[in-house]
């Protein structure tokens, strides 16, 4: 089966009405037409713009967080028979032309899960994000035993085996650590590939993208531990 016909690209989105349309078009231009947008309770026109651009749009009636939106997207891809599912941030920070790199790594059997790493390439990354990521990587390594350069990336790919086995239960940023713990639990193969990143000049302050402050990082770690005990 043609790679691109069985590959679904998932965009968890919150208030990305200004950019989602053009991002979907860019993804189509690089040859991926199965696009699922999960509108995570946006109050702008994200849903309409994504639908206009030709994506399959699913809507959360209230904002649940990037983890929940990713879960919904991956569940939808599974139900629709995806062989590969790729998640990509809806704010345009990732380059759609690099989707093929992640998919190729899965196709050649390098891994079951591929993480696009912002830190394996020269990228203009704000210092506070670097610090937060280092702490998150350390926290994830302690819990999972897997050492990665970028555990908080939103650019990931999963093959069918990983889609079937991974169970994401956490809703906000703590799900990034949970994915790695699930990979360790199911002994899946995880590889990192270098990706480019471009941050907007005025980052929005919204739940999907405010996780990089130190206070949010501590809150995320505490929430991960509490949820691990309750679920």
């Amino acid at each position: 089966m043609n790679d691109r016909n069985s590959t679904f690209v998932i965009l968890p989105a919150y208030n990305e009405g200004q950019i989602i349309g053009s991002l979907i078009n860019k993804i189509k231009q690089v040859g991926f037409s199965h696009i699922i947008v999960v509108d995570d309770g946006s109050w702008d026109d994200t849903y309409l713009e994504a639908e206009k651009a030709g994506a399959l749009v699913l809507k959360h009636e209230v904002n649940l967080g990037s983890g929940a939106a990713t879960r919904t997207g991956l569940d939808a891809a599974k139900l629709l028979g995806a062989e590969i599912a790729v998640t990509i941030d809806a704010d345009g920070q990732h380059d759609p032309s690099e989707i093929s790199q992640l998919v190729r790594s899965l196709r050649v059997g390098q891994g079951d899960v591929v993480f696009g790493s912002r830190f394996r390439k020269e990228n203009p990354i704000p210092w506070e994000k670097k610090i937060f990521n280092r702490i998150a990587n350390l926290f994830t390594w302690v819990l999972s035993g897997i050492s990665l350069s970028d555990t908080q990336t939103g650019f990931r790919a999963f093959n069918r085996k990983a889609l079937k086995l991974l169970e994401i239960r956490m809703s906000r940023f703590e799900f990034c650590t949970e994915i790695v713990c699930e990979v360790a639990r199911h002994r899946l193969r995880l590889v990192e590939v270098p990706i480019s990143v471009q941050y907007s000049i005025a980052p929005k302050l919204d739940p999907l993208r405010s996780g990089y402050s130190l206070a949010q990082g501590v809150k995320t770690a505490v929430r991960f531990l509490v949820r691990s005990l309750s679920l």
């Binding site: 189509k28 199965h34 399959l56 699913l58 959360h60 919904t72 809703s171 949820r227």
Partner: protein, 125 residues
């Protein structure tokens, strides 16, 4: 008899009566009702018979009865707070499941027996 030994038991009785009333009206669950009753009976009892605090100190291993009460109280509060956090997380997960199920129902699957898959509603290049 000190004035707190009159006031505190009266306040305890008022809260106990209120708890009974809410329980009979079905506004309070058994577990919460029992914990509430136990708490106010203990407060009233300690006010009437302060030697109970020495008994708590002896059981818990504290030398001083005031420390025993403070640390026992704090420990109980932290435990209850933790249980509350776990309950909130459970509720949060249930809300998540509801919202996500509704979103996925837009794919057109009919309930748990999802034998038939609809075609993806995307435009092909």
């Amino acid at each position: 008899m000190a004035i707190y030994q009159i006031l505190v038991p009266i306040i305890s009785l008022i809260f106990i009566a209120e708890a009974f009333s809410k329980f009979r009206q079905g506004k309070r669950r058994v577990k919460v009702f029992l914990v509430w009753i136990f708490f106010w009976v203990l407060i009233g009892a300690i006010a009437l018979f302060p030697k109970i605090s020495y008994l708590i100190a002896k059981i818990s291993g504290f030398e001083d009865n005031v420390n025993a009460l403070i640390f026992t109280g704090l420990g109980t509060l932290f435990y209850l707070l933790f249980r509350l956090l776990l309950y909130i997380e459970t509720l949060d997960e249930k809300i998540n499941q509801l919202v996500r199920s509704k979103a996925l129902s837009e794919l057109g699957f009919n309930g748990p027996n999802r034998s038939e898959k609809p075609k993806p509603q995307t435009s092909e290049n």
